[in-house]
C-alpha cells in the first residue's frame, strides 16, 4: 500500500488537474454544502409544506460535467418507492426538500444509462483516492447548487465523517468542510450502468505510474475494477496491465468484453501480449483475436504458438527492418517515426531476400552522412542471432558471451522475426525463478 498524502489533498489535486477552478474553493458553495448521508430519510414536501414522503435516495446523472447534477429523487410514499424528477426541486436544505409545485407525478424509478444512486451505489462504496494512490471508502457526499443545478461537489473520506453518521438527529448530519475533497479529484467507480466520466479525475489518473495503477486495479474487484479500466486511456491501461500479476490479469480479462480486451492487448508490447494470450483458454483467446486488427492478431497468433522457454516465446516482434540499399536518412526517419516504442536503439538490415545482414546502432547512423547507403555502414561486430527454437539457457549464454543489449531471432531461412532485449530476458528469468521458488516453498510445508 502507498503512504498517505503528505500535502493537503486539494493542493496536490490542483497541481494534477491544472488551473481549472474547483467548486469547493468558492466560499458560497463551501457554505451551502448538504450532506447526502444526512439527507436520506428527511421529509420531501410539496410547495405548501405538506409532506409527500421520506427521501430514500438521490439520483445523479453522469455526463461530461465534473460535478454530476441531481436528476431526481427516490421518495418513499406510503409503502412504495416513487421517483420525482430533479427539475421539481425548489429548495434543498439539510433538513428537508421542498418541491416547486403543490402536485407532482409520482412514477416508478427505473435505472437509466449513465445514472447512479448516491446512497445505494456511491456512499460507503470504494472510490479511488487519486492522490493517496489507494482505494478508500466514501464516508459522505455533499450536494450544493452550482451552475443552476444541484450537483455533487464534494466527498468526504474521513473516519470522522463516518462516525458522525451513527449519531441520531442533527448531530449526525452536519458537514465538516475541512475534510471535504472536491468531487473532481476522485475517481468514483460506482455507477449504475454507464461509466463515471469526470474528465478531471481521468486526467489525474493519467498522471499515475503504470505500476501504481496496477496495484490499484489489483485492489479492486468486479464492477469497480472494470469501471476503472474503462475510465483509463487505453495506452495507459495497457501499460498498467503489463505490470499486473499473471493470475490477476487472467481474472481481469475474463471480466472485460472481448472488444476491450483486444484493444488493450493490442496496445501491449507484443511479447507481453502474447504471454497473456497464451495463458487464456482457447475459446476466450479466439474471441479476443476476432476483435483485433488482422495484422495485429496475425503477429500475436504467431508469438502465442511459441513455447515460452524458447527464444520464439520470449522475443518481441517489434523491430525496425531496413534494406541494405536504404539510405541513412530514411533509416533515421523510420526511427523517429517509431520513437514511442522501446526499440529506438537501431535498425536491423536485411538483404533483398529478407535475410539478416546486420544491426546498425543509432549512433552509427547519426555519425554517418544522410545520403550514405546502409550497406556502407555494415561490418563487424555483427549482431548475435539465435534460432526461434533456441532454448532459454542458450539465449542467456549468448547474452553473457556477447555483452550486447539485444539478440536478433531469425527463422530457418535466416530472416529476422524478432529481438530479445535484456528486459525480455529478465522477465523470462523472473517467471522461471518464480516457479522454482514456488516449488521450494511448497516443499518446506
Amino acid at each position: 500500500m502507498k503512504k498517505p498524502p503528505v500535502k493537503s489533498i486539494n493542493t496536490v489535486a490542483k497541481r494534477l488537474v491544472g488551473r481549472s477552478e474547483l467548486a469547493l474553493q468558492r466560499k458560497n458553495i463551501r457554505e451551502s454544502l448538504v450532506s447526502v448521508a444526512g439527507l436520506i430519510g428527511r421529509p420531501v414536501k410539496y410547495q405548501g409544506g405538506n409532506e409527500i414522503g421520506r427521501l430514500v435516495d438521490v439520483v445523479v446523472r453522469h455526463g461530461e460535467d465534473s460535478y454530476p447534477p441531481v436528476s431526481g429523487l427516490i421518495v418513499k410514499v406510503g409503502q412504495s418507492k416513487s421517483f420525482i424528477d430533479g427539475a421539481r426541486i425548489a429548495k434543498l436544505t439539510q433538513n428537508e426538500i421542498q418541491l416547486s409545485s403543490a402536485k407532482v407525478d409520482l412514477t416508478e424509478f427505473i435505472r437509466r444509462e449513465g445514472e447512479s444512486l448516491l446512497d445505494a451505489d456511491v456512499l460507503d462504496h470504494q472510490i479511488v483516492d487519486v492522490n493517496g494512490l489507494r482505494v478508500v471508502r466514501s464516508s459522505d457526499l455533499y450536494l450544493a447548487p452550482l451552475d443552476r443545478e444541484i450537483r455533487v461537489v464534494g466527498v468526504d473520506i474521513s473516519f470522522k465523517a463516518f462516525i458522525r453518521r451513527i449519531f441520531p438527529g442533527a448531530l449526525g448530519r452536519g458537514p465538516i468542510p475541512e475534510h471535504v475533497i472536491d468531487w473532481s479529484n476522485v475517481a468514483s467507480l460506482a455507477h449504475g450502468s454507464g461509466v463515471v466520466r469526470s474528465t478531471q479525475s481521468r486526467a489525474a489518473l493519467g498522471q499515475l505510474r503504470p505500476a501504481d495503477l496496477a496495484d490499484l486495479i489489483e485492489d479492486l474487484a468486479g464492477r469497480e475494477r472494470n469501471a476503472l479500466i474503462e475510465m483509463l486511456d487505453p495506452d495507459l491501461a495497457a501499460d498498467a496491465l503489463e505490470e499486473m500479476e499473471d493470475d490477476e490479469l487472467q481474472g481481469l480479462l475474463r471480466g472485460l468484453s472481448a472488444q476491450r480486451s483486444a484493444e488493450l492487448i493490442s496496445r501491449m508490447e507484443p511479447d507481453e501480449g502474447a504471454e497473456v494470450l497464451r495463458d487464456l483458454d482457447d475459446d476466450h483467446r479466439e474471441s479476443i483475436f476476432m476483435e483485433m486488427d488482422v495484422s495485429v492478431s496475425r503477429q500475436l497468433r504467431k508469438l502465442v504458438e511459441f513455447d515460452e522457454t524458447l527464444a520464439g516465446g520470449i522475443m518481441t516482434s517489434h523491430m525496425l527492418i531496413t534494406h541494405e540499399a536504404d539510405t541513412v536518412a530514411s533509416a533515421l526517419a523510420l526511427l523517429v517515426e517509431h520513437r514511442s516504442r522501446d526499440i529506438s536503439d537501431g535498425v536491423v538490415v536485411v538483404d533483398a531476400k529478407g535475410k539478416l545482414l546486420d544491426h546498425i546502432q543509432i549512433i552509427e547512423l547519426i555519425a554517418a552522412k544522410p545520403s550514405a547507403t546502409l550497406s556502407s555502414l555494415m561490418g563487424p561486430p555483427y549482431p548475435t542471432s539465435v534460432n526461434l527454437n533456441t532454448r532459454l539457457d542458450e539465449v542467456i549464454d549468448e547474452f553473457a558471451n556477447n555483452r550486447g543489449s539485444s539478440i536478433i531471432v531469425v527463422d530457418e531461412k535466416n530472416k529476422p522475426v524478432g529481438r530479445i532485449l535484456a528486459d525480455d530476458l529478465v522477465d523470462a528469468l523472473a517467471s522461471t525463478s518464480d516457479t522454482q521458488g514456488f516449488a521450494q516453498g511448497s516443499g518446506a510445508l
Binding site: M1, K2, K3, A37, D124, H125, Q126, R134, V135, V136, R137, S138, S139, I157, F159, F162, I163, R165, I166, E218, D219, L220, A221, G222, R223, E245, D246, D247, E248, Q250, G251, R254, D279, D307, E308, T309, S431, T432, D434, T435, Q436, F438, A439, G441, S442, A444, L445
Partner: protein, 414 residues
Amino acid sequence: MASKPSLSPKKIRIAAFLAVMGPGLIAGLSDNDPAGITTYSVLGAEYGYQLLWVLVASMLALIVLHDLAARIGVVTRQGMIGLIRQKYGARSGTLSAGALILANVGTMTAEFAGIAAAGQLFGFSKYITVPVAAIAVSFLVLRNTFSTVEKVFFIISAGFIAYIIAGFMAGPDWGAAARGVLIPTIPFTQEAIFIATATIGTTLAPWGLAFIQSYAVDKRLTKDDLKLLRVDVWTGSLLTGVIGFFVVVTCAATLNKQGIQINDAADAARALEPLAGSMAKELFAIGLIGAALLAASILPLSTAYSVSDLTGRPAALDDSPKEAPLFYLTFGLITGISAVLILIPGAPLITILVVTQILNAILLLPLLIYMYGIAKDERLMGEFVATRTMKTIYLIIIAVVGTAISCMLWFTIN
C-alpha cells in the same frame, strides 16, 4: 507457468493447491480453541458418545459458512465489516465492528486462560507463560511476511495431532462412537441442550467467519482459485471436526466411563492421567497450547482486519506499521488488554468468559443474515451469486443456529 518443463502436471496441481491452501485450514482449526476443546471435553465427559452427532452437524455448517465467507472475500475483495458498511450502512457496520471487537477481546482472554492453564500442567506460572505467549504471537504475526506467518500457523496446527493420538490411547468403544455420530438423540435436559448449543457456538465463531474472508482477500486469491479454495475449506473444516471427535471420544472412553466431572480442558487433562496413561495428560496439554497459540495469533489479526475494513482503509499483513498504523495498533491493543485481564489478580474472569460467549452468540445471528444478504446480491457476487439450493441451505443453517442461540441465551439468563 503450465508449460515449465521442470514440473510434471501432477506436481503443478499439488503446488497450486499448496499456494491456495491456508484460509480454510487455518480459520477452521483455530475454531478448535481452548474454549472449543473445553466444550468438547465436557460434551464427552458428561454424555459419552451420545452427542457426537451435534459435532458432525456443526462441522457441516462450518463447511458451508466458511466456504461462503471465503468466496465472498475472493469475489468482492472486501472484508466482512467493510461489506456490511457498504450494503447495510454506517450504523450496522459500526455496531457489528464494535460487537466483534468486544467479543474478540473476551475470546482472546479465553485463549490466554487456555495458555495459562496448559502452562500450569507443566508447572509454569501464568505470569511467565501469558506474557511470553503474547510477545511471541505479536512478534510472529507483525514481524514476518505473510507467507512465513502462514507456514508457522501450519506448524502450530500440527499440535492438534496430539488429540488424535490421545484418542487412540484412550481405547474408545468405536461402535458406540459410530452410533453417536449417526443416530441423533439428546436427553431433553437443560444441561444437554446447553452443551449442544455451546458446541455449535464454539465451532461457528464470528471472528472465524470474519477472518477467513479477510484472509482470502489479503492472500489475493482470485476467482480461478475458488475450486482449490473449496478443497482447502473442506479439509480445514473436516480436520476441525475430526479433532473435536477425538477429544470427545477420549473423554467419553475415560472420564464418562468412570463418572468423573470436569469443568475445563485442563481438568480433563489432569483427570486423563491415571486413566489413559501418563502421556495422555501431556498430549492433551500440548494440544491445548497449540490450540490457544493458533487462536491467539488469529484473533487480534482478525480484529485488526475488521477495524481497518470499517474505516475504509483495508490493510494487509505485508504493510508496514507506518503504512497501516491502525492495523498494528488494533493488534497490539487486543493482545495487550487480554493479557493484562488474565494477569490482574482478582479480575472477574468467569464473568468475562460468560459475557463473551453470549456476545459471540448474539453477534453470530446478524452476521449470518448479513452474509446471506451479500450472498444473494448479484451486484456484489456477479456470477457467483447464491443458487436457490444454496440459499435454502443458508436459511436452514440460520434457522437452526437461531433456535440454538435462543435456547442458550434463555438458559444463560435463567
